[in-house]
Each structure stands twice: as structure tokens, then as C-alpha cells.
């Protein structure tokens, strides 16, 4: 950072505004996060409520739900991901243009939730795609989704354009293809993407 924060505030008081390209770029990105329009289960109802007048997601510039993955920046996994639906979700995530973000909304999207024991339920979407914000709850209230949005905005704000920890879309070497699972004989194949998720070791 070329200008330190105190000097910036001092200059701002005098009517001089200084910024960096990084700040401007991140400000633009975090102020227009367009989610993709799809719901998976009951959490989607809370997601719809969040976009409506009472909770008013438009305040964050994120009310424009896009019906096409090409125009969306954010994927809200709103509900239970069944093993039948998981390949479609991963394929849609692949089709979104970079930079893209994922919010796992509710217990089901995080871990399978109350349906974890079900043979047909994926035990968390982060087995296949990188999740940026997890929100617990069954379902989470709209305030929780707004909190997730604000957390995501903070995360976008802190991303630097250069350096080793720069976001994936600015890195020519970064892996951008997430393998789409296929339905196998007993489970999805592969059962997880080792690039984004490591199988936890169960100690008995």
C-alpha cells in the first residue's frame, strides 16, 4: 500500500481522496456480486425472502439473480445437495466466469445436516468445490445470509491483485477446472475432489 490509512483519513478531511487500483477494483467487485438464481431445498425460501423488500439484499448490490452461470459471480448452495444433483451443481460452478464465489447456506450444504445418514445425500458441497463462506442454521435466517454476504464482501476487499495469495482468476497457473463427479455403482465417482477437500482421518 502506497498511502497509509491515517494519512488517507487526514487527506480525506481536507477534501483530497486517494485510492489504489486494487481498492477501486475490489470495491467494484464487492459492490456488484450477482448470485446465480437457483435453489436446492428449503433454504432457498429464506434466500428468496432475503432478496425481497423486508430484508432487501439490493443494499449490497447483490439482488440481481442471474439465470445463467455465465453472468453470475456467486453461487449460493441453498439446501440439501443430493448425489443426483451434485454433478449439475459442480458443472454449473465450472461454467461460471471467474472470479466466482460460493456460499454454503445451511447445515445440509455444509455437511448433509439432518439428512447426513441418507444414502442419497452429499455430505457437504465443499467436497467438490471451494466454499468461501459457510452459514450454519436449519435454515439460516435471512439475517444470517446477509451476514454471509458481508463476510464475503470483506473477503473480496482483502484480496490483493498481486503476490502469491492473489485470487485464482489473476493467476495463470492456478487450477480452474473442477472435475464433475459421475454417478457410480454405490456413490459418486470420485467421492471428493482432493484439490479442494482432504478426507478427514477418523480416529476410533
Amino acid at each position: 500500500m502506497a498511502v497509509d490509512n491515517e494519512l488517507k483519513i487526514e487527506l480525506g478531511k481536507q477534501g483530497v481522496f486517494v485510492t489504489t487500483i486494487q481498492e477501486l477494483y475490489n470495491w467494484g467487485r464487492r459492490s456488484s456480486v450477482w448470485p446465480m438464481q437457483f435453489g436446492l431445498a428449503c433454504c432457498a425460501i429464506e434466500m428468496i425472502a432475503t432478496t425481497m423488500a423486508r430484508y432487501d439484499l439490493a443494499r449490497f448490490g447483490a439482488e440481481i439473480f442471474r439465470p445463467s452461470p455465465r453472468q453470475a459471480d456467486l453461487m449460493i448452495i441453498s439446501g440439501t445437495v443430493t448425489k443426483k444433483m451434485a454433478p449439475q451443481v459442480v458443472r454449473l460452478y465450472n461454467q461460471m466466469g471467474e472470479p466466482k464465489y460460493v456460499i454454503a447456506m445451511g447445515a445440509c450444504a455444509i455437511s448433509g445436516g439432518p439428512f447426513k445418514q441418507g444414502y442419497n445425500v452429499l455430505k457437504g458441497i465443499d467436497r467438490y468445490i471451494p466454499v468461501d463462506v459457510h452459514i450454519p442454521g436449519c435454515p439460516p435466517r435471512p439475517e444470517a445470509l446477509i451476514q454471509a454476504f458481508m463476510t464475503l464482501q470483506k473477503k473480496i476487499d482483502e484480496q490483493s491483485l498481486t503476490g502469491a495469495d492473489r485470487p485464482r482468476h489473476l493467476d495463470a497457473e492456478a487450477q480452474c477446472e473442477f472435475p464433475v463427479p459421475e454417478p457410480g455403482e454405490h456413490d459418486l465417482e470420485p467421492t471428493s475432489n482432493p484439490g479442494v477437500w482432504t478426507v478427514p482421518v477418523v480416529i476410533r
Binding site: R70, P87, R91, L92, E98, L170, E177
Partner: protein, 123 residues
């Protein structure tokens, strides 16, 4: 050139064009410099519904659907052509009336055909 009454209009036109094209150009330049392209087959798939597209788009339709095409022409397309004809009727000559009559008679023939085929009865 400056004395031309349309000069200010031309200046505004160029400004408007620049106003539209400059952000597009900047976005293109930004993407070109900073974000490398990483296409793959899943990402470039045509269908955007999460499912894989199967088969060919050049499917054949049954020729028996021609009857619906005839009915559509009679009750929908005919009305579109008849309305402007009816509005301008008093100012039209004999040739226009005759050609319109031929058009209507051709469609009446189609109606007779559809009637003979029995598709006008609800069964």
C-alpha cells in the same frame, strides 16, 4: 465546417460513442492484461442448465404437423394481413382487391382441406 448546423450534433454523437465504447475497451484491456483465459470443455459447453446436452439439434419433425401450420396461417397470419387491408380499403384499386381475394381464397382452400380432414371437430 463549424458553421454547419449539424456540427454540434456530430460532436455529441462522437462523445456518446466514446462514452459507450470507453468502458468496454477498458474492461477488455483489463481482462487481457490481468486475467488469463482458461477455457475447458465443461466451461465452454453450450447448454447452461447443469445437464449435458445429448444428441443433435437437427431433429426431424413429423410431416403430419403440416395441418397445424395450415390452421395457423388461416386464423393468425391471415388476420395480420387482413387488418391493414381493411383499414386502407377505401383508397385501394381493383388490382389490390383482386390480389387480396386470391390470397383469401387460397387460405379458404386450406380451411376446406382442414375441414375435410376432420381436424376442426373436437374429439
Amino acid at each position: 465546417m463549424v458553421s454547419n448546423p449539424y456540427f454540434s450534433l456530430a460532436v455529441l454523437f462522437v462523445a456518446a460513442l466514446g462514452f459507450g465504447l470507453a468502458p468496454l475497451g477498458m474492461a477488455w484491456l483489463w481482462a487481457r492484461i490481468y486475467s488469463p483465459k482458461k477455457p475447458n470443455t465443461v466451461k465452454n459447453a453450450i447448454y447452461e442448465c447443469g445437464l449435458e446436452s445429448k444428441g443433435d439439434a437437427w431433429v426431424q419433425f413429423r410431416s403430419a404437423y403440416y395441418l397445424y401450420a395450415i390452421i395457423f396461417l388461416i386464423f393468425d397470419v391471415e388476420a395480420v394481413f387482413l387488418l391493414p387491408f381493411a383499414v386502407a380499403f377505401t383508397g385501394l384499386g381493383v388490382a389490390a382487391c383482386v390480389s387480396m381475394l386470391v390470397f383469401v381464397l387460397m387460405l379458404v382452400e386450406g380451411l376446406a382441406w382442414a375441414w375435410a380432414k376432420g381436424i376442426l371437430t373436437w374429439a
